[in-house]
Structures are given as C-alpha cells and as structure tokens.
Symmetry: C3
C-alpha cells in the first residue's frame, strides 16, 4: 500500500461508525418496546440496585471476638449436698468467658469415687450375667464404666447379677433430679461483648455503644425496647428461642445466640448495628433420647492423706450457649455496579430481540418490515450495487433468524 | 409450505446477517469514541483483570486449625503468696493450646472459701442495710455473692451495715495489685502452628515452613526481618497491636492475632504465605469500667480431712489472644473471566450509545446524521419502498430515541 | 417548538426502532456463525447452568453448632500408676464436648511437685554450669522450668553440673512411654451432633436423621455403608485420615473432621446431607521435632494438711480432633440467572464480531461485503443525500474498524 493509503487508513480510524436503524412507525410494537424497557429499568433500579444493593461490593468473612460474662447466684438445699450456694465459678464451664459457654443447671454427683472393684450398673445390658463366665476378664463393658474382672456378682437369692468391674467406684447411679437443681438460673444475666471487623473494608465495631453511660450498661436488659443493650437475662434468651427454661434446665440443651451485622458502609458507621436472634440448636422434638438434651461428665480430683487419688464425678446437665456472629458489609464498588448495569443493558438487547420477533413475524405487516430490516446482498447480482434489493416477500428465509 | 420453501428456509439458516453501519466522517466524534473505547479497555485490563484479578474464581471459606504453645516462667514474691514460680501449667487457661488462649498476668486470690455465712462486701449497694428488715431472707444480693439470711451486720457504733449472706465465705475483697503480678509475661513466647485448607481448590498449607531447619525454628522470633517465623514474643504482639503491655497486664484485655492468607493459586504454592497482623479487640478507650479490660473468676476445689469442700477463688486478669485466620484464594476460572469480559463488551455498547447522543444531538450537523442513521419506513407510503425516505430535518421525532 | 412539534415528538416516542441488518448470502460465514452460537449456547446451558448451577444464589456463610460425646474406658497397668481405669472424665479435655476435643493417649506424670529448689533438668543447655557464677541469680532458665538461685549443683566427682532453680520441684523428667499408655483409645467412639443453618435461606438441618430409630443410633458406626450414622470409631477416623493410630497416640497429633454440607435447596431438604472427610492437620512428615506431634501440660492442684499447695504435672500427648463444618447452599435466584444469561448474550455479540471480521477481511468477496455493511455518509456531499454512496472498494478505511 502506498503512503496515501496508509494515511487514509489512519484517518478512517477516527471515522465514527454507528448502527443503522430502521424506524418502524408501528405504534403497537413501539409501545410494547417502551413497556419492556421500562420494566427492565424498574427491575434494574428497584430490585437490583435499591433492594439488593447491586452497586455494592460485599464482604461476608468477618472477624469476630466475643467476651461473655455471667452474673448470678443460686441457692439449693438438697439432702445430698445440704444448703449450698452456687456462684459463677461453680456453674460456668469453661470459666474464661468465650463465645461458647455452658451454664450448669442440673447435676448428678457421684462423690468419693476411687479406683477399685464394684458391680457395674444394672442398667447396662452388656454387664448382666448369670455366671462368672459371662464376665470375660479384661473385657471392657460396652457403653459401661470399666473393665470386667471375671466375676459375676449376684444378690442373695437372685439368679441374675451384674459383672464386677474395675472402675472408679462406686459407679454413677443413673437418675437425675426431675426438677432442675439450679432452676433459678433463669434470672442469671450474661453480658456479651462482641467486636467485629470486616477485613476487606478495614471496618471495626463493637456491640457496646460507645456513647452509653456506665449506669445504663449496668442496669439495662436487652429487650425490644433496648435493642442495643448487651446484657441478656438467660430466661428471656431461652423463651425467645421458643423453649421452656425449666424443661431445658432439667434435660440440657443448646441455644444459639446469633448476632448479625448487616452493614451498609455507604452510610454512617453508627447505622451499622447488631441484630440479635435466638434459636434452639439441639432438636428437642426428637423422641430418641440419644440426640436430645445436652450433658457431659467431668470430675474434681482430690488426694487423701495417704496420697491416694479420689474424685467427685459430676454429670452436668445444662444449657450451652453458642454465640454465633455473622455479618455482611456492603460498600459502593465500581465493578459490581458495572456488571449489573451492563447485564441490564444486555437485557435491553434481549428486549429489543423480543420486540423484533413481534414486529417481524406476529403483526399484519410483518413481511413489509422484514424487507426493510434485512437488506439482502448477493455478490453475484451486480445490479444490486446501485440500489439495495428491497422486497416485502421473503418469509421462509427470514424465519430462520435467531 | 412446499418442499422448495422448506429448502429455502433451511438454506437461509446459514445466511449470515450482520448489522448495517453508517460511517459518519466526523473526526470529533470518531476521536471521542476511540477515547471511550480505550478507557473501557484500560479499565477492563488494568483494574478488573490486573488489580482485581477478575479472571479468577475465589474461595474465601477456608478451613483452619491452630495449635498454640507458650513458653516462659515468672517469679513473684508477694506477702500473700510468698516466693512463687509460675509456669505454663499455672498461667495458661485453657491448657490445650487452641486458637484462643489466655495468659493470666494479674490475680486476686481469695483462699479457703467455705460455704458459710458472712457479711457481704460493702461495695455492693444492694447489700447495705440499716436494720434486719432491709435484708429479706432468701433474696439474692443483686450483683452480689450470695443469698441474704435476713440479718443486718453492723460494726460497733456504726448505723449502717451490710447484710449477712450465705455464700462462699469470706467473700472476695475488691482490690487488685496495681502492678501486674506477672508483668514478666512480656518475655514469654508463643509458638503458633496454623494449617489451612481451601476446600474449593483442595489446597493445603502450613505457616511453618517445611524447609526450615530445626534450630532456626527454636531460636527465631517473629519480626519484620523474620516474617515467616511462627514464634512470637507476647510483649511484641501487644506493642504491635498499639497497646501497653504492663497496663494491659494489669487490667486485662483481648488481642487479636490475624493471620491472613491471600493466595494466588495460579502461581507456585510457595508464594502463598501468611501475613500476620495484630490488633486490640476490647475497646480500651472507653471510660466505662464495665466494658474495658478482661477478667474472669475460677476456683480450685479442695477437700479437707473431714470431707468438707473448700476452694480458692481466683479472679484472673490477663490477656486473651484470639488467633483469627482468614484468607482468600483465587484461581483462574472461565466463568468470572467471561462475565467480566462480556460486561466490558456491554460497556462498549454503552460507550457507543453515548457517542451516538453526541453525534445526533450535540454537533452542528446532527440533523443530517440523524437522517442517515434512522431510515424511516411507513407501510402506507408505497413510494418509499423503492427509495428510503431520507430527510435531514426531523428533530422532534428523533429526540425521543432512548 | 409549537404544539404540533411536541405532539410529533410524543408520538415518535412510540415509533419502534430496529437495527438494520445486511444479509450476506455467504454460507461459509453463516455456518461459522451458527457453530459459534451453538457453542456459546452449549457452554451457557451445559457448563454455567447445569454444572455450575449459575441460576442459583449461593450462601457459604453457614452457622454451625457441634456437640461431641465420647464413650469408652481404658485399662492401664504401669509401675508408676498401678492398675488404673481411664474413663471419659479422665481422658477428654475439655470435658464440655465442643467442636474441638482432645483425647489423651499418652502422658508423662510428675507427681507431688512443690514450690522449692532443685536442680534443673540436664537436657536444657542453658542450665549447664561449671561454677556458681554460671548460674546468675534471679535469671530464668531459657526454655526451662524455673529461676536460677545462683548455685551450681554437681554430682560428686563430676566437673559439670546443672544450676539449682526455684521451681515446681522435682522438675519433669523428659521421657515418655514409647508405647502409648491409652493405645486402646482406638476403640473409643465419638458421637458428633452437628446442626447447621444457612441464614440467607433460613434453612436448618441436623446431621442426625430425624427418621432413625433409637437403637440404630445406639449401635451404628459410621462407614461407607452407613454414611449418615453420626457415631465414629476413633481408630477409623485416624486411619481414614491416612495416619497410624498407635504412632499418633504416642506422639500426639491433630485430626480434622470436615463436615461438608453441599445443599441444592431447589431440591427436597432430605437431599441436603452432610459429607464427612478426614485429614491429618499437623505436618507429620516434618523431621523437626518442634513442629510435629501435639502435647500440652496441665496440672492438678492439691493442698496438704498444712495448707501447702502441691500439684501433679501432666504432660499430655494425644489426638486433638477439630470438627470443621463448611457448606454451600444454592437456591434459584433471578439476579445471578440474569447476569449469566446476559453475559451469554454479550458473548453472542462477541461471536458476531468475530464472524464480522471473517466476513469483512478474510474471505474473497470481503471488499464487497464491507461496502454493504458500511454506508458512508459525508455531510458535504449533497448528492449523497438522495442515494447512499455504496462502493465496493474502500479497503484501507474499513480495516480500521475495531
């Protein structure tokens, strides 16, 4: 190519090319197209942008730290333990005040257990025996408390007995108070301190309002009137989760305390507030005892004057509270905005395509419009060079347009 | 339709339809359009693809396991406890070395508490009394340590006293050493072992470099010079979090150790390394005592020769460290690539639309170009069939084009 | 503008504008375009919609609550401890049954430690000494157990000794049983109760099937035949994680139990089931002792008749199990559907652009088609008003079309 041609090429780079449109003076299709356009616009603005905040980049992986602190004392008077006061150090396990904490509300105490031999609990099928040979020496009792010594212990006159075992003796007796020992735990309060951080946006906040005065924080209780008070009454939490406190206190259970942070960081930080909700996490409805309730065993170890270890075994029933924090923060970002706008524009194209179909195939004069929209060119027909072939009757060929 | 028509339809399926363009030899709009195109291209390539890695599928839900291990001993000499050594088993709670661990740095010890009656602490407003009737029997002291017995205990000669309570007696005295008992915890070290896994990409890694020799791991300390050493000096962590160790050790507090894994899995696995950052999680700045600091109570239970339980109550102040792991892994994936490219293409369409507006309404000869771009067809005007109506003066009708 | 003009403008709003197309009767490009269209359609339907479920909105931030409960007893007979039974309260740390639990399988017991002075362990380099001056009084032994008193203790006749320290004495002797003490922990079982919730879709489920009868849940063991049984044998878990139980029990280690919920909420809730997988989290392969295995120290505190504290220090080796729950739920949502469809449509545009390039530059008659597609207009050439300039020879100018 010569220099002139190159120059022409370069100049033509800055010619503006614009699509050629055919104006179909058909009001029906015109109105239809406007309606489609408006619908798409309404969807884009109303749903995608206003409701779903499609112009925001979101961060759902928040970092969270939870500190919990319980307050309350309970008084019990049982034949076994006598008059006794239970305070925080007694009933909160573990004591550290993390996001998962357990309040002991009922317990089976088996005091003074020592390593010795004793009969296994008669409730365990594997421990029942008729003769010594049923108790294979050294074999662990299935779902039991110890290892068989090889002897079958029977009460006088009875034919059935239980195997003797080597275990922490005496073994736990399997019955717990029907009425929860620490039923008054209903009035205990828990102070939940939650600080969160959205790493993507470098935004931090606490659930304890900075502006509150100290006395408010000491006396307030969370409720619908005080949605930002971080102190909760245990009984209320359980009730809001749809459970019965006394029943749960007796059998044990798990309550989830969900803290949800749904923050629009395009607004002021003060509008980013926690929302609390409560739910029961263990399936109470299930009939099968194996999956309902919540309990665990732990022991306090002592040593007597002779240096021999003994322990108090405690089977603790109670309510475990799991503080679960989740959140979502959104902030304006150009990329999702552009993706959503351009998906809207592409939708406009789909709308135009749909109206085209109506114009070209469904209305009376569609043949005429097809001829106008499509300009047929054949390289062989020299005469079509000077004036485009425009005819209103080419239906089969046009039907195939996708 | 006859067979011929069907054949024609089938053949026309493979006719190629291409949009008809009008070349407007207007250099201003042409240049504008090229500038818009280049801007969009630059945005797409530079921002979306290079900076934001829009061609990658990302996984932010990582699985993480943290093992922590503290080392260090502290010596204290107080009138109460005498000369005493504190080692890991004494000051780390809980001992298991999980991702949340607490280092006890200050404590109020109340030894030899027994279940008995004693006067409530005079600091608790609800326990103050003038006469026995102020102490309702069986009522728990609000924010106190026990249940009132119904007696008001007064010092000789004074008119005000405190209610007698049934509690673990004697009750805790409310004062803690100003100077933290275990201030030397500043030199303790913690070894943090973190292994992560991105389930979507089946990618696992540890923060302990596999190639390091043993002696390096035993002697190194994390710092800017050793960014991949997993052993941290507690004092440094606190300092990097912007806090004062001795002050925090006295009042307690929570420090977050963030481990961030930002992995580009299109690169070598060795380039996927943790980044540590440190921040204080409890709001130290707050004036209100209820929300600053960190402490909890726990007890050690003993049994005397007569089989009566007594305990040592410990109110522990200290620093809780929360190791929080979060991460993001990205790997090339065709779907986000295509979404981003096609959103860019749709943007080009928006750019063309914008240039169209300029061409058709803002330049001098816009009337002329409008006439060229839009070809008006009316099914009633038979004569327009042979040659399209092209006139350069139809402004009001064209203004309405969206 | 007059009233007439405004009316015309308003009416023209409802004119329908449609792009003008040129039909190129070129079968090669036509077939190419259809192939491109079909490919895009296949990709969109097959990959984006069927495989990747691009029509769904997904939620990956699930809330999860885990309850674990161990069962099993072990019998040991060592010279140190005598015949002894280990039950759940002895070997599970912490006892609460949270998502992270530790099963003690090997231990070094150092009984009757008291605050006193004694020689430091000879294995610690910093404690070795020749003379008293090597033991700086008040200095803590690096990686040791106490604070130097300033004396160097030597055995009779030897020239090297170890510093005397103030510590919990006697210090721990550094050797553990080669054979794990509680090797029979291999047969212990753990019952894992996991309840999850996808907050975005308000969908909750448990891993314990509601329909199962009680006896099944008491006797089943998780395996490939029983993929929904929530009771796991520890030995199996370790084996599935690719590790050797006895070896791990001796040195300690961490096993991850991943529970994955991959739920298609467009289907029935009963099709949303957990999938379990197991992996070893500490890097066993590493040669360096500092980063392999898992152990920690804790103490049981006692008080003798004189009121002096003493303790039993236990260095516990064992297997920590981390139950990690992650999940993804998808549900039909119009927004991702539209984004994916419109990105597909935009791709169609890219396909058309590609075919245009072929038509206009790569085939024989491309010059002719270029002339047809692009209609050149110049505002200066008055005569072009009546009939568009259509010539088949304008190559350099058209080459520049992007």
């Amino acid at each position: 190519m010569g220099q002139v041609a190159w120059k022409a090429l370069f100049l033509s780079l800055f010619d503006y090319k614009t699509e050629k449109y055919v104006i179909a003076k058909n009001k029906k299709v015109g109105v239809l197209y406007r309606v489609v356009q408006l619908s798409i616009l309404a969807y884009l603005v109303g749903w995608v942008f206003v409701v779903k905040k499609g112009y925001q980049d979101t961060d759902t992986s928040l970092q969270s730290s939870v500190i919990t602190k319980l307050k309350g004392v309970a008084f019990t008077n049982t034949s076994e333990l006598g008059e006794r006061i239970w305070d925080v150090a007694d009933y909160v396990i573990p004591p550290q005040g993390e996001s998962v904490f357990f309040v002991m509300t009922n317990l089976i105490v088996t005091p003074n257990q020592r390593q010795a031999t004793c009969p296994e609990s008669a409730n365990i099928p594997d421990a029942l025996c008729d003769k010594d040979m049923d108790c294979l020496e050294g074999e662990a009792v299935v779902a039991g408390n110890g290892v068989k010594t090889g002897r079958c212990l029977k009460d006088k006159g009875s034919t059935r007995g239980t195997c003797e075992i080597l275990a922490w003796c005496p073994v736990e007796k399997r019955s717990k108070p029907k009425k929860p020992l620490l039923g008054s735990a209903e009035n205990f309060t828990v102070y939940i301190k939650n600080s969160i951080r959205f790493p993507k946006f470098k935004f931090s906040k606490m659930n304890v309002l900075a502006t509150d005065n100290e006395s408010y924080l000491k006396t307030c209780r969370y409720s619908q009137e005080h949605p930002y008070c971080p102190i909760f009454v245990l009984g209320n939490i359980v009730r809001w989760a749809g459970a019965n406190f006394q029943e749960m206190a007796s059998e044990g259970g798990v309550i989830g305390i969900q803290i949800e942070w749904n923050c629009d960081l395009d607004k002021a930080p003060s509008e980013c507030n926690p929302h609390y909700s409560f739910s029961r996490l263990d399936n109470k409805s299930a009939e099968n005892s194996i999956s309902s309730g919540y309990n665990f065993r732990f022991a306090k170890y002592y040593r007597d004057a002779e240096g021999v270890d003994y322990r108090t075994l405690i089977k603790a029933y109670g309510i475990r509270f799991d503080v679960m924090v989740n959140g979502k923060a959104g902030k304006f970002n150009i990329i999702p905005t552009i993706i959503n706008i351009s998906s809207g524009l592409a939708l406009m194209g789909a709308g135009a395509f749909f109206c085209d179909l109506v114009l070209l195939y469904l209305i009376k004069k569609s043949n005429f419009y097809r001829g106008k929209k499509y300009e047929e060119v054949k390289s062989s027909s020299r005469k079509s060079l000077s004036s485009p072939t425009l005819n209103g009757n080419q239906s089969p060929e046009q039907l195939s347009r996708l």
